[in-house]
Amino acid sequence: MTDHIAIVGGGTGGTVLANNLAERLDTEIERGEVQVTLINDDPDHVYKPVWLYVPFGQREPEAGRRPLEELVDDAVDLRIDRVTDLDTDAHRLQARDGGAMEYDYLVLATGSTLVPEKIPGLASAAHDYYSESGATELREELLSFTEGRIVLSVVGTPHMCPAAPLEFVFMVDDWFRERGLRDDVEITYTYPIQRVHGNANIGEWARPIMDERGIEVETFFNAESVDPDAETITSMEGTTLEYDLLVGIPPHSSIDLIEEAGLGEDWVDVDKHTLEAEAADDVYALGDTADTGVPNAGSVAHYQAGVVGQRLASQIRGRPATATYDGKTLCFIETGMDSASFVEFDYENPPSPAPPSEKLHWSKLAYNEAYWLTARGLL
C-alpha cells in the first residue's frame, strides 16, 4: 500500500512542499510506502519578484526562471502536465497528457492567473510587471519615457505581492530623480479603498512618504474602463484620469478547476490554520490558492508549505496532525532604488514597517539570489 501525495502547481508553495516532503518522508519514499508527485504545466519554476526590477533595466526575466527538474528532489515524481479535472469524492484527478491519477492526499498550489480582460480596454492599454511579457514591454516604454504622466492603478485585489505597487511608484520616483527628469514626470497612484494599501498600518506608513515625494494619490478608485485612444482611465466612482503611460495591476483569478470541483468561489475555502479544504477531505491549499486573507506572497506560500509538509507527514504516519499556520508573512518593501523597509506580521500581530535603509534594500536583493535555496527546501 503506497500513500500517494499529489501536488498541483510548481510555484513557490508547491516546489517547497515537494522538497520538504522528499526530505521529511525520505525513508517512507525509499521503501515505496509513499509517492510524492508534483504536477506543473511549465517545465520551469518562475520566481516572480524578479519582474519588479525588469522595467528599470536592472534584471532580465530569465533571472527568475529555472528548470523544475534542477530544483526538485529526485525522490519526487515530477510531471509536466496540466490537470484538467478533479473529483475530490473519488480522490482522482485527470491530467491532459497523463490521464487519470488517484491520490490519497491532494495539495492545490495553482497560484494566480491575470485576467486584465475583465476591465474593458485594460489589456490593450495598460502595462504591468506581473508577467514576463508585461515586464519586458513595460521596460521598453519606461526606458524611453522622459516626460508626462505615469498612472499606476491597482485594479484587482487580492493581487500578488501587495507591496509591489507601492514599491514601483517609490522606485520610479527615485529613478527619475536620479536621472534629473522627475520635474517632467508626474506620478499618480490609484487604490480601490480609502487608503493606499489594504493593510491599515502599511497604508498609514506609506501615505506620508508618497505626499513628501510628490506622488499623487487617488483613493476609492476602482477602474471601470480604459480608453486607449483618449489615454484615460475611468473609475466606478466617476473619476477619469489622463495618462501617458498606464501601469495596471490586473484583476487576478484562480483556475476554473477549483470552482468546478466545488472547493470555493475562485479560491479554495480553507481552515486558515490547518489549510485543509472545507469542502473536501484530504485536500489542502497553499499560497494564493488558499483563501486565508493573508497576502498573496512568496513568504506565505513558503511558510504554509512547511506546515502542510508537517501535517501530511503526521497523517501518513498515523499521528495527529498538530502543525498550524499562524499567518506569518515577511515582506521587504523597496522605498527607492537603494533603500527598502521590511515588515513581519501574522494573524494576531499587525505589521510595523522598519525605517527604510540601504541595508534592507541589499537584504532584499540578497534574498532574491538566495531564493533558489528556498525553492530547493534548504533555506
Binding site: T157, P158, P192, I193, Q194, G198, A200, F220, N222, E224, M236, E237, G238, G293, V294
Partner: protein
C-alpha cells in the same frame, strides 16, 4: 440583529474575511450589477462600519440600511 424587510437581489457573505476583504467583495459584486440592484453584505469586521458607508457615498450608491449585530453586521446597498 434587528429585523428588516428590505428586499435584496444578491448576498455577499464576507464573514471571516479580513479588512479590506468585505468592502472589496462588495465592490466586486456592484461592479457587475445593474442599476437598482440591492446587495446585502454580511461582514464580521468592524472596519466595514466605516469602509462601506464611505465607499457607497463616494461611488454614489445608496446605503439603505446597516444592521449592527453582535456576531456580524448586515449592509444593504443599492446600485445607483
Amino acid at each position: 440583529m434587528t429585523d428588516t424587510d428590505i428586499a435584496y437581489d444578491e448576498t455577499v457573505d464576507a464573514r471571516g474575511s479580513a479588512c479590506p476583504g468585505p468592502l472589496m467583495d462588495l465592490i466586486g459584486e456592484m461592479r457587475d450589477a445593474d442599476s437598482g440592484t440591492v446587495v446585502r453584505l454580511l461582514s464580521d469586521n468592524d472596519q466595514s462600519l466605516t469602509d462601506v458607508p464611505e465607499w457607497t457615498e463616494e461611488a454614489g450608491n445608496d446605503l439603505l440600511e446597516v444592521d449592527e449585530g453582535d456576531d456580524y453586521h448586515t449592509f444593504y446597498v443599492e446600485k445607483a
